[in-house]
């Protein structure tokens, strides 16, 4: 067992003073404070981050994680299982189930009838990856993607499984992936947060929780900043009505003068840091509206992302914003799309979700590629677990549902650091067990960090005596998929 307890010591004091830039801050104070914090000074356009990170040459500079919350069914989308037609309606054999614990929702079912996908599959592109008819756009770009068929988790319920996928641990109390990464690598913009979260406003399905982009014991500066589709894009971003940007400038000039007097009197570097944070807030007030104003995007871009792209809060709109954030140096961009939890009525509900995300997801990949950004942007698409091969609830000629299944599900990755056009891992004829090359959630996380040039055992933080890390006590980099 790998152990997180003995990784490289990066003891960080809990007191983080700085907005992590050198401008406007006393050089002597900066030097002494930054070195104590183990935080490197700005290097090559980078703001913040830990000295020594990345640990080796990164393949990706940034992450866009298209999280599909609720557990999309691999059976209807990616994991083609032709033999299920032969097994249709028969009980899942105990030999296949292998003692797997089931959720309280189906554990006491009297039978576990196997149900094949209602939807058809074809092999796509040169790589021959199987993608179903529900995802025609994804199918079109299949050669850009690598499909991990054997991602797995021990968790069988949403809250712990999503928390596991996003924080590396099943219970709240650990920092999120984006927090870890921005803590380690800082950011490449001074005008936007390093870690941005966008949630499709269509909602539905399972709830989300602040902890998924929270920092737990890491300093709260690393928390994901929600870009919202209603009200202020960033909470409290807008000045009040009757108060113009010019007014704000006057206000800040006066505030800076007063705080400078304060700084001179008390000599606390914290005061200078605060002046600096107000200036950054002011810049954000300009940069966020500029970012979210997509009116200058060309029509062919809108066409690429599809008809929803101009509606704020749609997945399509968020995908386009993700590309714009990536262009501006944001390190970690996290999207959530919900309502994939198809316990019942799957044949009717699943196509709708696919329609929400298929075209924008593919457009994002193509868009990044056209701009030469796909090579250093890692895009990940997937949920917290997959779904069972057997039907949950009532099985009829036209209708079925599937319960949660953590033993294997499909996630795709594309871009920086990943070999395109691969299918990694294999599941059995029932799509229930892994036959070859399992990828635990911690392995996926280790691989993501690896693409960023981070050894996942070295990105640690000491809290209550222990050196915690994103991958807890696990994680093996999936080397065969690395470019």
């Amino acid at each position: 067992m790998a152990c997180s307890c003995c990784s490289d010591d990066l003891r960080i004091t809990r007191r983080h003073f700085f907005g992590l830039q050198s401008t406007g801050i006393g050089i002597a104070a900066l030097a002494s404070l930054l070195s104590r914090e183990g935080i490197s000074a700005t290097t090559a356009g980078r703001v913040g981050g830990l000295a020594g990170f990345p640990n080796f040459a990164p393949r990706a500079k940034r992450i866009i994680y298209l999280f599909q919350s609720g557990g999309p069914s691999q059976f209807e989308l990616f994991d083609y299982k032709p033999r299920l037609k032969d097994f249709q309606g028969t009980d899942l054999p105990d030999s296949i189930r292998g003692g797997q614990r089931l959720t309280g929702m189906s554990a006491s079912q009297s039978s576990f009838p196997v149900v094949p996908s209602k939807f058809t599959f074809a092999q796509r592109g040169n790589s021959g990856a199987w993608v179903s008819e529900l995802l025609p756009h994804t199918a079109r770009i299949a050669d850009e993607l690598t499909f991990l068929k054997t991602v797995n988790t021990e968790e069988i319920n949403h809250d712990p499984a999503v928390t596991m996928a996003q924080t590396g641990f099943r219970l709240g109390g650990r920092p999120s992936m984006g927090a870890w990464i921005t803590y380690g690598l800082g950011c490449e913009t001074q005008d936007l947060p390093a870690f941005v979260v966008m949630i499709s406003s269509s909602g539905g399905g399972q709830p989300l929780y602040d902890r998924l982009w929270g920092t737990a014991f890491l300093p709260s500066r690393y928390q994901g900043v929600k870009f919202r589709s209603v009200g202020d894009r960033v909470l409290y971003l807008s000045d009040p009505k009757g108060f113009t940007p010019t007014d704000r400038r006057h206000f800040l000039d006066a505030l800076n003068k007063l705080d400078t007097l304060e700084s001179q009197e008390f000599g606390d570097p914290e005061t200078e840091a605060r002046i600096h944070q107000y200036e950054m807030a002011y810049r954000m007030q300009g940069s966020v509206p500029e970012l979210t104003d997509i009116s200058k995007e060309p029509q062919h871009t809108f066409d690429m992302y599809g008809p929803d792209v101009k509606k704020p809060g749609t997945f399509a709109s968020n995908c386009l914003l993700a590309r714009r954030l990536a262009e501006r140096g944001v390190r970690f961009i996290q999207l959530y799309h919900r309502d994939w939890d198809h316990h019942a009525g799957l044949p009717e509900a699943l196509p709708k979700r696919c329609q929400d995300v298929d075209q924008p997801s593919a457009a994002l990949i193509e868009d990044l590629k056209q701009r030469g950004m796909l090579e250093d942007t890692l895009v990940i698409w997937g949920g917290e677990f997959g779904r069972t091969v057997y039907c949950q609830g009532r099985l009829t000629a036209t209708d079925y549902g599937r319960d949660h299944h953590g033993r294997c599900f499909t996630v795709w990755m594309a871009g920086g650091g990943i070999k395109p056009g691969l299918t990694h891992g294999e599941t059995d004829d029932y799509g229930y067990n892994i036959v070859k090359d399992g990828v635990h959630v911690h392995d996926l996380q280790a691989t993501i960090l690896n693409c960023l040039g981070i050894d996942h055992t070295r990105l640690t933080y000491q809290f209550q005596g222990r050196h915690f890390r994103l991958t807890d006590v696990g994680g093996n980099v999936v080397k065969p998929i690395l470019a």
Partner: protein
């Protein structure tokens, strides 16, 4: 074997010698040049952090017999005759050879495991330590503290109390000098913020300035400690430690009701109950002899953990999680130990076996029938009614009213008898009566014989018999069944495991289903005895709407039937599809054979006598024809009810209505009394096992309750329950409790603890920067009778605390974190203090001690975008301006202002204080309606109360927030700003109107709009000052 306790006590004798010899420079940056290497300070942390994983307490990962956590196993002979550590001779010591080797195959920590080598500084320390004799020291925090002698100091005039002697002695050794006392204005602001969480008023400042007596400051301190605001200030941090929340914390994160526990905490701080009592009542108040309501409420501490109501979870997995949370929280809060690290394996750094964790776990594992799959829309059992004193009185009054009304009605008995028999005499034989109150559905008078294939369906809507899980109802039917299987009446899906309400015959027994999801969200029960086939029987099913199977009663011919509960977990709201019909003769796809008549559905739970009346086929007229002595009890009840409905005189009806109303009032009031989840001890303790790898379903060795073996053990007669544990925690010989507690308080004043790792007093924790001071405070705290206020008092009246917080580049260089305290604390305020200060200075603050949590301003949509539903419903009026500790805390959506300013999210126990400085904080203070409104009201106050001139008004605003007038250059900047904004708003009154529209409080009507807008802008500027959000 771990260090035996006996040996610990023996070693304790040497404690002062061993430890106080080690009081040289503590901080790494300061001690780099220190010549004497100290084991506890310098060496143990290296061993712990870099070596213990393979050479430490965890047997499972120990690689060799050499382990570096105990002297006896650290200094041993190795293979080949070499010794691991040869005191005085680094070159002969194997560990030095290995750590300093340039050969990767030889070097420790091993390169093949990916471990980095020790730093040159660490290698040098170990070399010097061996060279100086490799002196071992027992682990400091496991040895009970003793009162150390006060150190001698040169500048004894500076010393106000013993704290200062310890601080000064260290400063003098370091060649540093304390700072002068802070000015009186800064001092009163600092101590008022620290003790009450809001700034002093100008009048309080003036009084302090005018008081030239030597004890002026102490008088202020005593005034503050006596204020209820002190309790509010103290309670907030305790709520964080206790992971207090107003919601359950997982998935849909529904509401719970724990504020009565929070109010207990307020009361405890207010009354200054001793910390040992504070501890015992929260850990084991229920086990105290003749436990009071207050003591039982206190145990809510260990029910504040999150609870999971996500459908489909495996209940035991989460039940174990709750118990583990109690265990870890107790260990963190009272012991400063990271015992959670021993949940899956032996501790990697500290001498705790996995078994130690589960022995502590066993204390908290005995809640009877504890549910892992918890109710998500209110409190989960066990909980108690926790009336406020006023409510207790009110309830007693209402109980009395019920008694009086009942007596009044009973007094009517002779009259009832007389009137009823008179009334009975005039009834026709076919005269009948039945219960119609609440009747929503009644079948047509003629129903066909049911053949097991057909049913009579009435189209459904969302009004008739459309019941949710909290809606009481009654179902009545007369039945003559010819088959022992079939559906009788239902409103449910047409398959057996579907959603909805149904009454069945299954193998001859009556079966009641209320099903949301068959597998895990349902109530199912059956009668113990079968019904009689081929004869008419009256069936009445009553559900009280309290979501428990125990609230369902099945009557056959008026007799309440014993039932078997088959499933009892109706945890979530649900409704059937309104289109689903009311089916007679079918349920869940099963059909009835036989005859049915008079199917009724009531939208309320009928009283037992009403159920009895429904079972009587005879008409009221027929009953009247029998002698009262010949009537069955059911017949008597029916005719009595009929009389009361139809024949009674107004006097009787009034008396009865009074009784019914008194009962209804009492019950409604009773239902409104808050509840609180509490600890309850099962008389038969649940078996506890070591859980292999921490997994709920992998029990290993069975264990009994007990405290960690490496700590001093309680006396033999101590009961092995929570009370015994609480007594042990608060025993004077416990080496940790007092130290951990005083350290946490120290952190709240100085920003950092004496032991910086307030949550880790183990070997990975930081060595105390002032070990003797820590022990002195711990002993003083215990000697004072665990007097919490006295502890605060001694800290804030020390010269150390009273220093100016001005710093210099030299001091920043030498002691950047201010651990040595050559200056006073300068620390950014917590979010609750920042908000409360703005409310107080603006005059908006509404002070009211305790009560249910409130929902102040929050940007709309935050709850919905994560969880849908109705979202956050903001309060109105006073509730917007209560102190921040009363703000409703939803754990999965932390109040955004709190999150921006570093509040822990209350998912788990948090005791360390974290502070960052971010642009989101700037945006929040500039644009959050809370602060815009506070600025507006502060602007108004400046204009109304601050005199006539801009100067005096600005002075006043500054004083309200900062307890001082501005200095000249500051005032000039503020006046210029005022002028700029006044000019702007004069020329643009519409903008002024808009700018002044924030917040729900009314605007002072007579103020000049442009002027008020300008003062508001200046007030907003003041709210945003670094000084405003800082204690200095």
């Amino acid at each position: 074997m771990l260090r035996p306790t006996v040996r610990l006590s023996a070693l304790a004798q040497k404690w002062s010698v061993l430890v106080f010899a080690a009081m040289a420079g503590i901080i790494a940056s300061l001690s780099a040049t220190a010549s004497t290497v100290e084991f506890n300070r310098d060496i143990r942390p290296i061993f712990s952090d870099r070596c213990f994983t393979c050479h430490g307490p965890d047997a499972a990962t120990r690689k060799t017999k050499m382990r570096l956590d105990m002297e006896s196993t650290a200094k041993i002979e190795l293979r080949g005759g070499r010794r691991s550590i040869v005191p005085g001779d680094p070159a002969a010591s194997e560990i030095y050879r290995r750590i300093s080797s340039g050969d990767k195959a030889v070097r420790m920590p091993p390169a093949y495991l990916g471990r980095e080598s020790l730093t040159p500084h660490e290698i040098a320390l170990i070399r010097d330590w061996i060279a100086q004799g490799a002196k071992w020291e027992p682990f400091w925090s496991f040895i009970p503290p003793k009162r150390p002698p006060l150190p001698a100091v040169k500048n004894s005039a500076w010393v106000r109390n013993p704290i200062d002697a310890f601080i000064l002695s260290r400063l003098e050794r370091e060649g540093l000098h304390p700072s002068p006392e802070a000015g009186k204005r800064i001092l009163i602001r600092r101590v008022t913020l620290d003790l009450t969480g809001i700034p002093p008023t100008p009048a309080e400042v003036d009084a302090f300035l005018a008081d030239n007596s030597p004890s002026a400051y102490e008088r202020v301190v005593d005034r503050l400690l006596a204020s209820p605001r002190y309790a509010e200030r103290m309670a907030f941090r305790w709520m964080e430690a206790a992971r207090y929340g107003d919601t359950n914390g997982y998935q849909t994160d529904g509401p719970r009701e724990m504020w009565r526990w929070r109010d207990w905490v307020l009361d405890a701080f207010n009354r200054n109950i001793p910390y040992d009592q504070f501890t015992v009542e929260q850990l084991a108040g229920d086990l105290l002899p003749n436990a009071t309501l207050s003591q039982r409420i206190a145990t809510g501490f260990n029910r504040n953990h999150r609870t999971n109501g996500e459908g489909g979870i495996i209940p035991e997995e989460y039940r174990v999680e709750y118990v583990a949370d109690r265990t870890q929280t107790t260990a963190t809060v009272w012991m400063g130990l990271t015992l959670g690290c021993a949940r899956c394996h032996d501790h990697k750094y500290d001498p705790f076996l996995q078994k130690d964790f589960y022995r502590l776990f066993a204390y908290f594992n005995n809640i009877p029938n504890e549910k892992g799959f918890s109710y998500n829309y209110g409190n989960e059992e066990p909980y108690i009614k926790a009336p406020l004193p006023q409510q207790k009185k009110e309830l007693a009054l209402l109980d009395q009213r019920v008694k009086t009304a009942e007596a009044g009605y009973h007094a009517q008995s002779p009259r009832i008898q007389k009137e009823q028999s008179a009334w009975e005499r005039h009834l026709a034989a076919n005269h009948d009566w039945t219960v119609t109150d609440g009747l929503q559905f009644r079948s047509s008078p003629s129903l066909p014989v049911f053949d097991g294939k057909h049913s009579i369906d009435t189209p459904g809507d969302d009004k008739t018999a459309y019941f949710g899980y909290l809606d009481p109802f009654t179902l009545a039917v007369s039945m003559n069944a010819t088959s022992e299987n079939g559906g009788i009446v239902s409103r449910s899906d047409d398959y057996f495991e579907g959603t909805g309400h149904g009454l069945y015959l299954i193998d001859g027994k009556l079966r009641v289903h209320i099903i949301h999801r068959w597998t895990d969200l349902a109530i199912r029960l059956e009668t113990k005895s079968p019904v009689k086939l081929n004869q008419w029987q009256s069936i009445v099913v009553i559900y009280d709407g309290k979501r428990k199977a125990s609230g369902i009663h099945v009557y056959i011919d008026g007799v309440d039937q014993p039932t078997n509960i088959l499933f009892d977990q109706l945890n979530e709201p649900f409704h059937v599809d309104p289109k689903i019909p009311i089916r007679i003769g079918a349920a869940g796809g099963k059909f009835f054979k036989g005859s049915l008549r008079d199917v009724r559905i009531y939208g309320r739970a009928l009283q037992p006598e009403e159920a009895a009346a429904l079972s009587v086929p005879e008409t009221v007229g027929e009953i009247a024809r029998r002698e009262p002595s010949e009537r069955t009890p059911e017949q008597s009840q029916k005719i009595a009810l009929a009389f009361l409905a139809e024949g009674a005189s107004p006097e009787i009806k009034d008396a009865r209505n009074r009784m019914l109303k008194a009962r209804a009032d009492r019950n409604a009031f009773y239902d409104s009394i808050p509840t609180v989840m509490v600890m309850v001890e099962s008389p038969t303790p649940r078996d506890t096992f070591v859980l292999q790898r921490g997994a709920y379903d992998k029990p290993g060795e069975k264990v009994t309750p007990g405290v960690p073996a490496s700590l001093p053990q309680p006396p033999a007669e101590t009961p092995a329950n929570r009370l015994g544990l609480a007594r042990w925690i608060t025993d004077r010989t416990n080496p940790l409790t007092a130290r951990v507690t005083v350290n946490r308080y120290w952190q709240s004043y100085f920003g950092v603890g004496i032991v910086k790792t307030v949550d880790d007093f183990g070997s990975q924790g930081e060595w105390p920067v002032h070990p003797e001071l820590l022990d002195w405070l711990a002993i003083e705290f215990m000697d004072s009778g665990w007097n919490v206020k006295a502890l605060q008092r001694i800290i804030v009246t020390s010269a150390t605390y009273r220093q100016s917080s001005r710093t210099t580049p030299e001091l920043l260089e030498k002691d950047p974190d201010n651990r040595l305290l050559a200056r006073g604390p300068r620390v950014r305020l917590g979010p609750e203090v920042i908000r409360d200060s703005a409310l107080a200075a603006s005059g908006l603050l509404v002070e009211q001690l305790g009560g249910p949590s409130v929902k102040p301003y929050q940007p709309p949509g935050l709850w919905q975008e994560l969880a849908g539903g109705d979202g956050y419903v903001q309060d109105k009026g006073d509730a917007l301006y209560r102190r921040s500790l009363y703000t409703y805390w939803k754990r999965t959506v932390t109040p955004p202002f709190m999150a921006n300013f570093d509040s822990p999210n209350r998912e788990v126990c948090t005791v360390y204080e974290s502070r960052t400085n971010t642009p989101l904080q700037a945006l929040d203070l500039m644009n959050d309606v809370t602060f815009l409104e506070a600025a507006r009201k502060l602007g108004e106050r400046m204009m109304q109360e601050g005199g006539a001139s801009p100067e005096s008004r600005i002075n006043y605003g500054f004083e309200l927030l900062l307890a001082r007038p501005p200095k000249d250059p500051e005032r000039q900047i503020l006046i210029d700003t005022l002028g700029t904004f006044e000019a702007k708003y004069r020329s643009d009154p519409k903008a002024a109107e808009e700018y002044l529209a924030y917040g729900e409080s009314r605007r002072s009507s007579n103020a000049d709009i442009a002027e008020l807008a300008a003062y508001t802008a200046v007030a907003s500027l003041m709210v945003n000052l670094d000084e405003t959000v800082t204690k200095e």
